[in-house]
Symmetry: C2
Subunit: 341 residues, 2 copies
DNA sequence: CTGAAAGCGCTAACAG
DNA sequence: CTGTTAGCGCTTTCAG
């Protein structure tokens, strides 16, 4: 099966009557090697199809050229694009990317992190699960000197490196947009279990306050777990005595369910109900009317997170100065919220 | 920064006045170690927070407990679900997953494979890029004894392990479905550059033949590269003297563009035009009318591919018997193709 | 500019 | 049941 055994620097050394140190140096362009020798070595190496054994190198240098990514779930548009961005930068820097998903479960997340450190990743990009409140398992990593960058789903109130958007501001703007389009009674439909959603909820409320609109608790639904539930909650909401004329949904998935449920009841969008979502998922451009949304630069968030991580990795001196990078979102006004004026 | 240096089995051995071999054995439940010693060792190990250095172990055993996945692009519903399935099984087997994307480019794919073998993955799951015709770089791997499983995008005419669907049959059934719904003149809109699409094209043609319908070359579009082009081609197609009354699209993305373009022209779907897509993407359930489609078990394809790979990895004796696993697809008939009878 | 030698941390004969 | 020993392949002082 294994036809030719792997060639090592010993084989090259023998062949050229040089020492392994010289081979090693020549291969990585060490300045103190004669140009001639270097070429000779490299030529032989390629002709032998020599591939350095990274495990041996890792064992010496404690560098694996691998970074890890832990996401709640990789088959979701947002996260897969995020990972795509990370992978892109990593490869450009000669790194490979190890990926695992927590499936939104705390225990799995902990296990994944263990597995990652067992694989000696040089750094980690983490988007925490909804269940993750206690982050000792992560702070321990950081103390141990392994660079960690949080992205999107960041833990509450921790001084750490992170790449995020301004969820408060984005939600504020989304809500304000509905108001400017004429909505007077706006509902919030989504979740609130993690910090990012709490920020959106806060932004929503503050926008209402700014325009002296009432914050009606009965119009705040924080339990939109799936399409079915969302549809049900939408119906309930629209059936109240004073139904909303605007809805801020914390995701496009939810926004789309809202539109579908509303349309099924004969509610005209946007004439009777303005809707805006969040994420700029592909589905937002398919639903009719097209769903207005907040677009997040998910791919770029991955890119920036990876770049940031590599900075941390290279600056060994690291005076552990933690920074928070905030990327811009964009409000995309589409049919679901643009009233014909 | 690095507070406590990593503990090694030497530290444990010293502490307990045992040899490193005993520690090593105790830790992995080697049968020939006294129950008592084993417990003692394990207890100390956990109390020290000992984490075995996988690089050292790898260097000895040539096992990294890492598999690689190469996909054209990870931020697409199909591939991200596929990867999700692979990751799931890998973790269950104690493996980590290294991921990279070829961005549909042959050279990048080659580079990724190099990087993977440099990271000493124990096996690979590959979905090749559209550009990949020559697969020497991969057969070389296989000869070298590294197990490879192809999935979905498989190279043409190679005896290798693969997990696929029956693209011919699925396309045949999709086309037949349109015929049974009353379509007499059916167009093919999609691509044809890789084998998988050629199979779909073949299935489409054979279905037409079976029902004695003419295969009109002017109704076969194999260049639907993006939404814009697809819309344009759809318009062109519908403007011909004898326009189609049915369209088989090789992906839901294309199918959705077709529907949008047709609706914009005032063509009634499904009354005047039946449409069916492929993949069961989320968007297929958002477009109106909902797009009929062929659902592929992408997550399961990942699961099966990973299981298959682990089989290959464990059976070192490997009489390299290559197998092709075919998973079932399902035709989901929805509004875009169901004529009110 | 090149070589000798030690060692990264773990494993597995082989020998008690 | 436990210990001795010799590496896995590479890097890196320290000496020339």
């Amino acid at each position: 099966m294994n036809s030719k055994k792997n060639v090592t620097i010993y084989d090259l050394a023998d062949e050229l009557n040089l020492s392994t140190s010289t081979i090693s140096r020549a291969l990585k362009d060490h300045p103190s090697i004669a140009e001639k020798t270097r070429r000779k070595v490299k030529k032989l190496a390629t002709s032998y199809g020599f591939v350095p054994n990274s495990m041996a190198a890792s064992l010496r240098n404690k560098k694996t050229k691998i970074i890890g990514v832990i996401a709640p779930q990789i088959n979701r548009p947002f996260h897969s694009s995020l990972i795509s961005g990370i992978e892109h930068i990593a490869k450009a820097s000669g790194y490979n990317v190890l990926i695992s998903q927590s499936h939104e479960q705390f225990e799995i997340e902990k296990g994944n992190i263990q597995a990652m450190i067992a694989s000696h990743v040089e750094g980690l990009v983490i988007s925490i699960s909804v269940e993750t409140k206690d982050i000792d398992h992560i702070t321990k990593l950081i103390e141990k000197g392994i660079p960690v960058i949080f992205v999107d789903r960041v833990p509450e109130g921790l001084e750490a490196d992170m790449v995020v958007i301004d969820n408060y501001k984005a939600a504020f703007e989304a809500t304000e947009h509905l108001i400017l389009q004429g909505s007077k009674r706006i509902a919030y439909m989504g979740l609130s279990d993690i910090w990012l959603y709490q920020e959106r909820l806060r932004g929503y409320k503050d926008a209402l306050k700014k325009y002296d609109l009432t914050i009606a608790e009965e119009l705040i639904e924080t339990n939109c777990l799936d399409a079915e539930i969302t549809a049900e909650l939408t119906r309930k909401c629209l059936d109240t005595k004073s139904p909303p004329d605007g809805i801020f949904a914390t995701s496009d998935t939810i926004g789309v369910s809202v539109i579908q449920a509303a349309k099924a009841k004969g509610v005209k969008i946007p004439d009777q109900l303005n809707v805006i979502g969040f994420n700029n998922d592909p589905i937002s451009r398919i639903i009719e009317p097209n769903l207005s949304t907040i677009s997040q630069p998910e791919y770029d968030m991955g890119v920036v997170a990876a770049q940031h991580l590599f900075n941390k990795i290279s600056e060994k001196n690291g005076i552990a100065q933690s920074s928070k990078i905030q990327l811009k979102t964009e409000l995309l006004a589409r049919g679901s919220s643009l009233r014909n004026s």
